[in-house]
């Protein structure tokens, strides 16, 4: 049977037996979501790739201890989030803008690391509007505290339920609710002008 059609836990158990195609399949499934979360947390593509790759390596090295009773996606997100938060704590990098990487050494480097936001518009006006809104939203998310950023992204981008977010972030359910409410209230306040239109 093709790996593509197997559920996560079966692919993970094949990976635990050292099957490289299983590792590739898990990467194919989760590299996008994990990279997106980390990228939006650190706002630097190179750092995000490094952190996300490291999270996958750690997960794959410990794949033998993965309990199939749990979701693989929650497990990998938990590892990636913990690793990213450790990095942010070390760097004290809480908020950055979309203007470019905070690690950039010169203008060229800054331009290279500038945030790219895809748009879903059709007409040039809609493309411009979507780009502007996306940029503003991404910028607003970047200005949130890392804990708030994580809950918003896990809820709205990944679509996790509150209790699953609580498990991933190792937080009490009530704290997750509070973080979400505060984060969205702050986003709304930051985007007040955009949401009016």
């Amino acid at each position: 049977m093709e790996l593509r059609h197997l559920p996560d836990h079966e692919v993970a158990s094949l990976a635990a037996r050292g099957r490289e195609p299983a590792f590739r399949e898990l990467l194919r499934r989760y590299q996008g979501p994990v990279f997106s979360l980390v990228y939006r947390m650190v706002r630097d593509r190179a750092t995000a790739e490094d952190l996300a790759q490291e999270a996958f390596v750690r997960a794959f090295q410990a794949i033998g201890t993965f309990d199939p009773a749990f979701k693989f996606s929650s497990w990998i997100f938990k590892i990636a989030h913990n690793h990213t938060i450790d990095h942010l704590r070390k760097r004290k990098l809480d908020t950055v803008s979309l203007e470019g990487s905070p690690y950039s050494r010169d203008d060229e480097d800054e331009a290279r690391t500038r945030m790219e936001v895809a748009s879903a518009g059709e007409t040039p006006e809609q493309v411009l509007e979507a780009r502007e809104l996306g940029s503003r939203l991404e910028e607003a998310i970047g200005r949130l505290r890392p804990e708030y950023r994580a809950v918003v992204l896990l809820r709205h981008v990944e679509g996790y339920a509150y209790d699953e977010i609580a498990r991933i972030l190792d937080l009490p359910l009530g704290t997750v609710k509070t973080f979400l409410h505060r984060a969205r209230a702050q986003l709304k306040e930051m985007l007040e002008g955009v949401l009016e239109s």
Binding site: L27, G32, F35, A52, A69, H181, R184, K188, L191
Partner: protein, 317 residues
């Protein structure tokens, strides 16, 4: 508030505590000493003093005439809003809805579908009647839609290869475990260790399982030794005699029916002795049943209720 001598300036919290007289004498003396030598903090304190003075000078605003009458008239219209004296359970009843705008939390709970049926109906009724809240809801919906449109961002095409390369490099770096001179013993110890309980609850289950036979053995010993003709010495003599005769019988290859077997006959006579004290047998049976019940309950709890360590996936640090 902890305020210890250090290099730096006073924080806004410390200045406010100082101006409100919330510091201890020692802390206040330290702040005063600091203010004597720090012009920046002196300026800061003056600004805060100005704000405090402005706030203190706000004064009281007088309501329009007829305000009190208006309040009393509303009270007459809504008698349930008057706090009633009496027993707390007499005051229980449907709470009145306060007709204010929806809170930010209520908007979010509504959009997440997390409000209860009645709360949702109330919110919908309020939204139908309140245009500012409708407008606010429109903004919240827009935020929801924008967040939903965020989507995933793609890593570089070499991302997966990079992970696998790192993984191979780490595997090559990791030293292979040294072979043991006694692999079968190591395997046996490993298997035995896997059988050991790994949590206090596991030990409780093992204890519960061990309890039942221990209780039965105790009850039997009590039943046997409480007999006036039975002592440790006589029991040992009896067991020795029975064992030797059973062995002799076995060695001689003596046939005969099951009940004529000396070992079976010996056990039968032993239980006959126990049966002479039926109430002790009853107590033993009760304790055995109790022990079994406790064991079964512990097993049930062990396998059905989640443990802290089972709720979350193991995550390597």
């Amino acid at each position: 508030m902890s305020l210890s001598p250090r290099i730096g300036h006073l924080s806004p919290d410390e200045i406010q505590e100082f101006l409100e007289g919330g510091l201890s004498a020692r802390q206040e003396a330290w702040v005063r000493g600091h203010l004597d030598v720090c012009p920046r903090c002196r300026e800061e304190v003056q600004e805060w003093q100005g704000l405090f003075a402005d706030l203190g000078g706000l004064g009281e605003l007088v309501p329009r005439e007829g305000f009190s009458e208006g309040v009393l008239a509303r009270l007459r219209l809504n008698p349930s809003s008057v706090p009633r004296k009496g027993w707390w359970f007499l005051r229980l009843g449907p709470r009145r809805r306060v007709d204010t705008h929806l809170s930010a939390r209520a908007f979010q709970e509504y959009l997440e579908g997390r409000l209860g049926r009645r709360a949702q109906e109330r919110a919908e009724a309020h939204l139908a009647a309140c245009s500012p809240c409708r407008e606010e809801m429109r903004r919240w919906r827009r935020l929801w839609a924008d967040l939903a449109d965020l989507g995933h961002l793609s890593p570089s095409p070499q991302f997966a290869e990079g992970v696998l390369l790192r993984l191979r490099a780490r595997s090559a770096e990791a030293p292979a475990p040294a072979p043991s001179p006694w692999p079968s013993i190591v395997r046996g110890v490993g298997r035995a260790q896997r059988l050991l309980p790994r949590s206090p609850r596991g030990w409780a289950v093992a204890g519960g399982l061990a309890l039942a036979p221990a209780l039965v053995a105790t009850a039997l010993a009590w039943a046997v030794f409480s007999h006036p003709l039975v002592s440790v010495e006589t029991v040992l003599t009896y067991l020795l005699w029975k064992t030797s005769s059973a062995l002799a019988g076995a060695l001689a290859g003596a046939g005969g029916g099951f009940f004529e077997n000396p070992l079976v006959a010996g056990l039968y006579s032993l239980f006959q002795g126990v049966a002479r004290a039926p109430w002790l047998l009853g107590v033993g049976s009760f304790l055995f049943s109790l022990g079994c019940a406790v064991s079964v309950w512990l097993l049930y709890r062990q396998f059905t209720s989640p443990r802290e360590s089972r709720r979350h996936a193991h995550v390597p640090s």
